[in-house]
């Protein structure tokens, strides 16, 4: 292997790494948070973190970790949404009826609005 081959491999490796870490959110899968019928947030499953949302009865914590999403904590009595555990596949959802909040995993879509009025 020549010096140029090593450098070329390095460049390709860096480009691959850079592509995988790019900040643009059209990557793979998202978790969408709905309040009633309104989508209020779209969370990239590649960005780990905890987000707090407030429903009708109180707060819910949504955790994103390693490509999965879950309702980590909720103020509703039966905590069914918490017991749903981790969601990672397109279409999986956890619904907190008392708070009217839904967490749903969806595939990436181009041209999704940031807000809907009406």
């Amino acid at each position: 292997m020549t010096r140029a081959d090593v450098l070329l491999s390095g460049v390709l490796a860096l480009l691959t790494y850079g592509y995988s870490r790019r900040p643009v959110t059209q990557v793979s899968t998202y978790a969408e948070v709905y309040a009633g019928a309104t989508r209020i947030a779209r969370l990239d499953l590649t960005e780990n973190g905890t987000h707090t949302v407030k429903g009708r009865l109180g707060e819910l914590d949504i955790t994103i970790k390693d490509g999965r999403a879950r309702v980590a904590q909720a103020t509703c009595r039966d905590k069914r949404c918490v017991r749903m555990g981790w969601l990672s596949h397109n279409g999986e959802a956890a619904l907190c009826v008392p708070n009217r909040v839904m967490l749903k995993v969806v595939g990436a879509q181009e041209g999704t609005p940031d807000a809907v009025v009406g």
């Binding site: 140029a4 450098l7 070329l8 860096l14 480009l15 948070v33 407030k54 609005p113 809907v116 009025v117």
Partner: protein, 319 residues
């Protein structure tokens, strides 16, 4: 350029690409629940710390309390009331800030209660109208969004969206991409009529008969009450207004909706107005048209033909 120089340049470009991928501004969001609706704030910035989110929630809670008490000795309440009275005049009395008792009677202050309600009798409506109880919610939500926008700007954020159940202000952009704000279809919640252009700033509000309603004996009763009759206005499905402030948009959207055509749209070059009629058609002022990218084919209902026919069939079935 020699192959080595070429590779070095590629390496520099690749490193810059990787470094730019780490950190930098991104979209942050918070959500809370106030004034009977979810309030979502999105910010495009390096960071959106919890302290700032807390300060915004505190401001919102303060305003919610203020408009619950409706103490006219308070400067803010007096200001919003003065504005509300302007719209009362413009709508020739169809809109009124004194419908508190009538709204309570219909049960529209409590969405869940409204689901199981029957329409009140004419006698009870007349009595409630006579009470002239102050209710400023038609403007309060818009005022709250404007106030939060001022606060968020003072915090140093230039790119944000505040959406309180459709009362929305969008400022700046999402990096190089503009914020995208769609207008929902009044009868199909997952469909939109089109997009609104956010040219630096957008303040918009919609009054729709689907936002708070109940159905009794196949009749649809919603929260947008005509102040003269104390009953739901029937001319429109939805009215969307773009204005200089969200409060103005909110007030005008409600006033146009409840006035049942008293406010002549042809006179309203500014602000921008779009109305949706019960025949599934929209009409918009030239100012609105300039800010709107429609999804609908010209002179055609903005829904797929099959869905339109299904809806009509359902409506016929109810009658």
């Amino acid at each position: 350029m020699t192959p080595v120089k070429h590779l070095v340049r590629s390496l520099v470009v690749a490193c810059t690409f990787v470094l730019s991928a780490c950190g930098g501004p991104k979209e942050h969001f918070m959500m809370t629940y106030a004034m009977g609706t979810s309030v979502v704030i999105k910010v495009y910035a390096e960071d959106f710390p919890a302290a700032d989110k807390g300060a915004l929630i505190k401001e919102l809670t303060h305003l919610e309390d203020l408009f619950k008490k409706n103490d006219v000795n308070d400067g803010i309440v007096r200001y919003v009331l003065r504005e509300a009275l302007r719209y009362q005049v413009a709508s020739q009395g169809a809109f009124s800030p004194y419908l508190g008792a009538v709204i309570d009677l219909w049960g529209f202050n409590d969405e869940e209660a409204a689901q199981s309600r029957k329409p009140p009798s004419d006698g009870k409506i007349r009595t409630a109208l006579g009470k002239k109880q102050l209710n400023l919610y038609a403007l309060a939500k818009g005022y709250a969004v404007d106030t939060l926008a001022r606060k968020i700007e003072r915090m140093g954020y230039k790119n944000y969206i505040i959406n309180a159940g459709g009362d929305l202000i969008a400022k700046g952009s999402k990096g190089e991409v503009p914020w995208r704000v769609d207008v929902r279809h009044p009868r199909f919640i997952h469909r939109t009529l089109g997009q609104l252009k956010v040219d630096g700033k957008l303040a918009v509000a919609t009054s729709g008969d689907y936002q708070n309603y109940f159905v009794y004996e196949n009749e649809w009763y919603h929260h947008l009450l005509n102040a003269k009759t104390g009953k739901p206005a029937r001319r429109y499905q939805a009215v969307t207004v773009i204005a200089n402030s969200v409060m103005e948009a909110d007030a005008l959207a409600t006033a146009i909706f409840v006035s049942d055509g008293v406010i002549d749209l042809s006179d309203k070059m500014e602000p921008a107005v779009m109305v949706s009629y019960h025949n599934d058609r929209q009409e918009m002022s030239p100012a609105f048209e300039r800010k709107f990218i429609t999804n609908c084919p010209k002179n055609d209902p903005c829904i797929a033909r099959a869905e339109y026919l299904k809806l009509k069939e359902k409506e016929q079935g109810k009658k």
